[in-house]
């Protein structure tokens, strides 16, 4: 019954439309329209989920219109299990960000709401696009509202951060465009699915892989192209940080899964040791760096990079496992772990960034420095309890979202390599050290100063947001089979095309 509706198009363009209307009205209306739009889009995800057939890997809810005939560029949309779960996550996060913004943003509220609505629409577009050029358009289109949000609502050093963010990500994606044009020359189409299984020569695959790598590695971000993220996070408004952490980083992993691995499987196999090494650097090196951060947002940003290391590790361990053991099941476990990590990380880290926003909003100069806080647990017990839950998810405690993906990746990596698993498992200690040490300094101890003394506990909007996130954390942590059931077929297919010729 819902298949007659162009659900994906609605999910992309409704927020954009809402943004336009908001820009034409005043702030009072913005506060009503923006949440309404995000609630509607989140509700529209329900038919999307219910109508989705989990037994097939084929793209569903397809829409296809010729867009630019000269180059056979189509406006072509569709979802498989991976993009479906990411789209639902995008709409969920969108609601949280808009709700948080209603309270936290004091200047240019309408523009803020509009920017984040457009961002949400573009991001759904990225996940739904089946045409490479359309993908590229959304991919770049999403940068603009993010750039604006950092530049306009960010803190002191925002212009440096926003330029750095823009140049970094933009430079990365230029090479991706070149790769896409090459693939068009080979296949005569921009349909992403037609790029799979081409049996391109190895040296060509390596060039393609490297071109995609730069684009996606910047997004993930992987060491050493990660330094934009801490800056962007610290300067962005907390809504921007949430979107960055919960969604934008995942685009890199999504890119690896959609482009790098299935298009250049031989190259991925040749270069998997680079990717594994970079992932381990992310986990260990970045984990150590996170410990010494003095700025809360920077600390959580670094912790995000470290957690994303598990996602990339899970993706590329596949090749290592296949080469060393040939056991398909462990490869499957590994890549599913990576995808689960990519989804589950959104809850804990998003919630923690929201938390920093909650604290900074209450502090007279919006400080994010850990040393300015202390003893928050006395003044905001409800907040402290929530934050403990999210911190534990970040630490990877079983029963919370943060555990599932890491556990799967760790188990499968041991199968191929003892040392890779051992290094990856240092995160058990490192993540606990940086997260709980930060928690200790912010929440425990005596009340730090008179500003903290005046803090009030969560408002009802903040409570709503946190309750939603807490449900997410527990749901994913206790019943990940729910997500995995959506993913199985799609990942199976993706894995099979990613192993062509390997």
């Amino acid at each position: 019954m819902f298949s007659s509706l162009p659900l994906l198009s609605i999910l992309i363009w409704l927020p954009v439309l809402g943004a336009m209307i908001i820009l034409m009205t005043d702030e009072k209306w913005a506060k009503r329209i923006a949440p309404a739009v995000t609630i509607i889009t989140l509700l529209l995800c329900i038919p999307l989920y219910l109508g989705f057939d989990t037994s097939t890997y084929h793209m569903q809810f397809q829409e296809n219109k010729l867009w630019i005939s000269a180059y056979q560029i189509h406006y072509s949309l569709g979802v498989d299990g991976i993009s479906l779960s990411m789209i639902i996550l995008t709409n969920f996060t969108g609601l949280l960000v808009i709700l948080a913004g209603c309270e936290a943003i004091k200047k240019r509220l309408s523009q803020y709401m509009a920017a984040f609505l457009v961002m949400q629409g573009m991001m759904v577009g990225v996940f739904a696009a089946l045409d490479a050029i359309l993908f590229y358009v959304f991919w770049e289109g999403m940068l603009i509202p993010m750039y604006l949000s950092i530049g306009m609502w960010g803190s002191a050093n925002r212009s440096y951060a926003s330029i750095k963010f823009f140049l970094y990500t933009f430079l990365g994606s230029i090479l991706m465009l070149v790769a896409l044009l090459y693939l068009y020359r080979v296949t005569g189409t921009f349909e992403i699915q037609k790029f799979y299984g081409l049996h391109l020569p190895l040296n060509m695959q390596i060039l393609l892989f490297l071109a995609f790598l730069l684009a996606f590695a910047v997004k993930v971000p992987m060491w050493p192209v990660h330094t934009w993220l801490p800056d962007a996070h610290t300067e962005a408004p907390s809504g921007g940080s949430v979107v960055l952490a919960a969604l934008m980083l995942k685009l890199g992993i999504y890119g690896f899964l959609r482009f790098s691995m299935p298009i250049a499987p031989l190259a991925a196999q040749q270069l998997d040791w680079v990717m594994i090494a970079l992932s381990l650097i992310a986990i260990v090196y970045i984990g150590l760096v996170a410990i010494v951060q003095t700025d809360m947002k920077k600390l959580i940003a670094y912790s995000s990079i470290a957690h994303m290391g598990f996602a990339t590790l899970g993706c590329f361990m596949v090749y290592d496992i296949m080469r060393d053991t040939g056991n398909y099941h462990y490869a499957y476990l590994s890549i599913e772990g990576a995808v689960v990590q990519m989804i589950s990380h959104a809850f804990g880290s998003g919630a923690m960034f929201l938390g920093v926003g909650i604290l900074a909003d209450r502090f007279y100069n919006h400080s994010r420095l850990i040393k300015d806080y202390g003893g928050i647990a006395h003044k905001m017990p409800v907040f402290a309890a929530f934050f403990m839950l999210f911190a534990m998810s970040n630490v990877g405690l079983p029963g919370t979202a943060g555990f599932v993906g890491e556990f799967m990746v760790m188990l499968s990596s041991f199968y191929a390599h003892f040392w890779v698993a051992l290094l990856a498992m240092t995160t058990l200690v490192l993540a606990a050290a940086y997260t709980l040490w930060m928690y200790k300094r912010i929440f425990f101890g005596p009340v730090a100063n008179q500003y903290v003394e005046g803090f009030r506990d969560l408002t009802w909007i903040e409570k709503t947001n946190y309750t939603l996130l807490a449900i997410g954390v527990f749901f994913v942590g206790l019943y990940p089979a729910f997500i995995l059931n959506i993913l199985h077929a799609s990942i199976g297919y993706l894995l099979s095309v990613s192993l062509v010729g390997v």
């Binding site: 934009w228 556990f407 709980l436 200790k440 089979a481």
Partner: protein
């Protein structure tokens, strides 16, 4: 049918405390203190009664083990990770112990925490702990085990740091969590190795296929490999070392005493710290096949048993004495595991749970009376003021010192004799350690007893010391009774009857015959107590008590003299062998330095400074330099054109 009933009963036992925790945690402030403790205590009480029922059915009616999956947590490829519970003799016994101690401590808490603002939160945590511990005990696979494992770790962290205004408490919590996590690396690696070799995390699948992996190796380096089963067992045991505080991962347990006393009794004496012991006993079908791993377990346990016991002698904080004593007793249990006397280990775990919880709660009663003073140098002469506390503490001390017929005598003696009979590598060393421990144990606990309850009172005159309230004393009495009788009552059924209480939950290979030989020498509990005088251990224990009396009551100057003569030894003891300093310098400071180095040099200076901003600077520089060409004077441009033309011309003409 009976299986379903039992499964549901076990689920209810597990979930009731969770329900209590949720009610107390979310609505505690609304429903008030009385409702909070009534609800949580009732729920834990029901859990205890149901546990007794399950124990009754499983053990007395000799039901085979029930492995009941509840739901599928993750499926991926051929792997199915379920959430499920295993009800057998071992988990039934553990369930009774956990819920009983938890029940007692819940009641005790009414008195202990009565004027604390975090009353409801405390009850919520304790019930949550009970839930986590029960899920650990009831797990039917490594996943759920790890869930409970981390769950108890979390609650322990929260409860140590319960008084979060105090720096030391928060620090202690963090330290506990991190030390446990170091062990968890071992545990998770072990779990991953299990999956690698068995393709399943379910106990049943693993234990029934152990024979298939014998002879297989794990390659740690291309040319270096170890027997898979040994690697698995050692890795799992490293996890147990974290949780059960074996050297060198023991550093967190003394620090955990910063938490309120009820949880020291519940978590850091009776239940959580024995999780590692329980786990190894549960894994007996694995450990039995690796003598190397068993030897490792034995040596680590023996070392912990002796060296931490020694430290207890030099502590002045009453809770820390008992904490070090817990370490030492955990060492005994570990030693028993090492000599394949799993039943004896669980037996000691059981008796220890009662008498150590008793000692902690009695110490807590003293601390409450002293208005949160824990330094024994400021106590003394309390026996007359607090008679009930004194008598119960004394009973706990006698049980701990293995004086017949108290419970500790039976369990500890069984362990010591099992070590004597064992032929495994390291058994001689372990035998020395456990015998030395038999002397040290009464020494430190009676030292504490004399300092606290005997001698001249050193209490400030204006401190009003009184016997504690009944809610505190009743749990003491209820724990003192089992501390007296449970040993003699259970030694037969637990260790020597066929099948014994643990029955088929434990596997012992015939080559590890320590328990077998022990059974051959056993002639009933009564005779064992009466003939205790024939064994060295009783005389060592009595010597310990006498020494404690000489040093602390009869001739204190002698102790002071010794201190001066053995100043170096004394300073080593006071510094606790330097573990804390070592960790602080090498790990805490070292890793922070490393992190700072990587951040300052790697991220800020190199990547951002040279590469990212370097690119920007390069472009800036280039623009600045090239800007000078754009002078705006027409003759400069004319000159450039002429020059360019000349060069181009000469290149085309001469180049050919």
């Amino acid at each position: 049918m009976a299986n379903l009933l039992l499964r549901n009963a076990a689920l209810v036992i597990m979930l009731l405390p969770l329900l209590g925790a949720i009610i107390a945690g979310l609505f505690g402030k609304n429903i008030g203190r009385k409702a909070t403790h009534t609800i949580t205590i009732t729920l834990v009480g029901i859990s205890f009664l149901l546990s007794c029922y399950v124990f009754n059915v499983v053990v007395l009616y000799r039901l085979p083990a029930i492995d009941a999956p509840i739901y599928e947590w993750v499926s991926s490829g051929l792997f199915h990770f379920n959430v499920g519970i295993l009800i057998d003799r071992l988990s039934a016994i553990m369930m009774v112990i956990v819920t009983f101690i938890s029940f007692m401590v819940h009641i005790y808490t009414i008195g202990y925490m009565s004027d604390d603002p975090g009353y409801q939160r405390f009850f919520s945590y304790m019930s949550l702990f009970t839930f986590a511990m029960l899920s650990l005990v009831l797990a039917d696979n490594f996943l759920v085990l790890f869930f409970g494992w981390e769950g108890v770790g979390l609650v322990s962290y929260l409860l140590i740091g319960f008084w979060f205004k105090r720096e030391a408490a928060v620090f202690g919590g963090l330290k506990a969590f991190l030390a446990n996590r170091v062990g968890d690396i071992g545990f998770l690696l072990g779990t991953a190795a299990i999956l690698t070799f068995f393709n399943s995390l379910n106990y049943n699948d693993v234990f029934s296929n152990v024979s298939t992996i014998i002879g297989k190796n794990i390659f740690v380096l291309p040319n270096i490999s170890f027997s898979a089963i040994t690697v698995i067992c050692v890795l799992l045991f490293i996890g147990a070392m974290g949780k059960s505080a074996q050297m060198p991962l023991h550093v967190w347990l003394p620090e955990s005493m910063e938490g309120p006393t009820p949880i020291s009794a519940l978590i850091h004496a009776a239940t959580m710290v024995t999780a590692g012991i329980y786990m190894v006993a549960r894994m007996s079908p694995l450990f039995e096949y690796s003598d190397a791993a068993l030897s490792f377990v034995l040596v680590m346990g023996a070392t912990t048993c002796f060296f931490t016991g020694l430290l207890a002698v030099f502590q002045y904080d009453i809770k820390r004495v008992i904490a070090y004593s817990t370490l030492s007793q955990l060492g005994y249990m570990t030693v028993a595991l090492g000599v394949s006397a799993y039943d004896a280990s669980i037996f000691h775990l059981m008796t220890h749970a009662f008498f150590k919880a008793l000692l902690f709660l009695a110490a807590g009663s003293v601390i409450i009376a002293m208005h949160h003073e824990q330094d024994m140098r400021k106590m003394g002469g309390l026996a007359l003021v607090m008679p009930v506390t004194y008598v119960t503490f004394l009973m706990g001390a006698l049980a701990l010192s293995a004086i017949p017929p108290f419970a500790g005598f039976y369990s500890k003696d069984a362990i010591i004799e099992a070590v004597q009979f064992s032929t495994i590598k390291g058994a001689n060393y372990a035998y020395f350690c456990v015998l030395a421990g038999a002397f040290i144990t009464p020494l430190y606990i009676f030292r504490a007893l004399f300092l606290t309850f005997h001698g001249k009172s050193k209490i400030d005159a204006h401190v009003d010391v009184r016997e504690s309230r009944w809610v505190i004393l009743i749990p003491l009495i209820l724990l003192a009774i089992p501390s007296l009788i449970i040993g003699g009552m259970f030694i037969g059924p637990m260790l020597f009857s066929k099948p014994n209480l643990l029955g088929n939950s434990i596997l012992i290979l015939p080559i590890h015959s320590a328990m077998q030989q022990l059974a051959e020498h056993y002639e009933g509990a009564k005779k064992m107590a009466l003939e205790a005088g024939k064994h060295l251990t009783l005389w060592l224990a009595i010597a310990g008590i006498v020494t404690a009396w000489i040093f602390n009551s009869a001739w204190p100057a002698f102790a002071e003299n010794l201190k001066k003569h053995f100043a170096f030894f004394y300073s080593v003891m006071i510094r606790k062998y330097g573990f804390d300093d070592f960790n602080q310098i090498i790990f805490v400071r070292g890793f922070r330095r490393l992190g700072e180095f990587l951040y300052d040099i790697g991220d800020l200076k190199f990547i951002d400074g040279y590469i990212v901003n370097g690119c920007a600077k390069l472009i800036q520089w280039f623009a600045r330099v090239s800007r000078h060409v754009q002078t705006g004077f027409i003759y400069h441009y004319a000159l450039a054109m002429v020059l360019g033309l000349a060069i181009f011309l000469s290149w085309t003409l001469l180049g050919r």
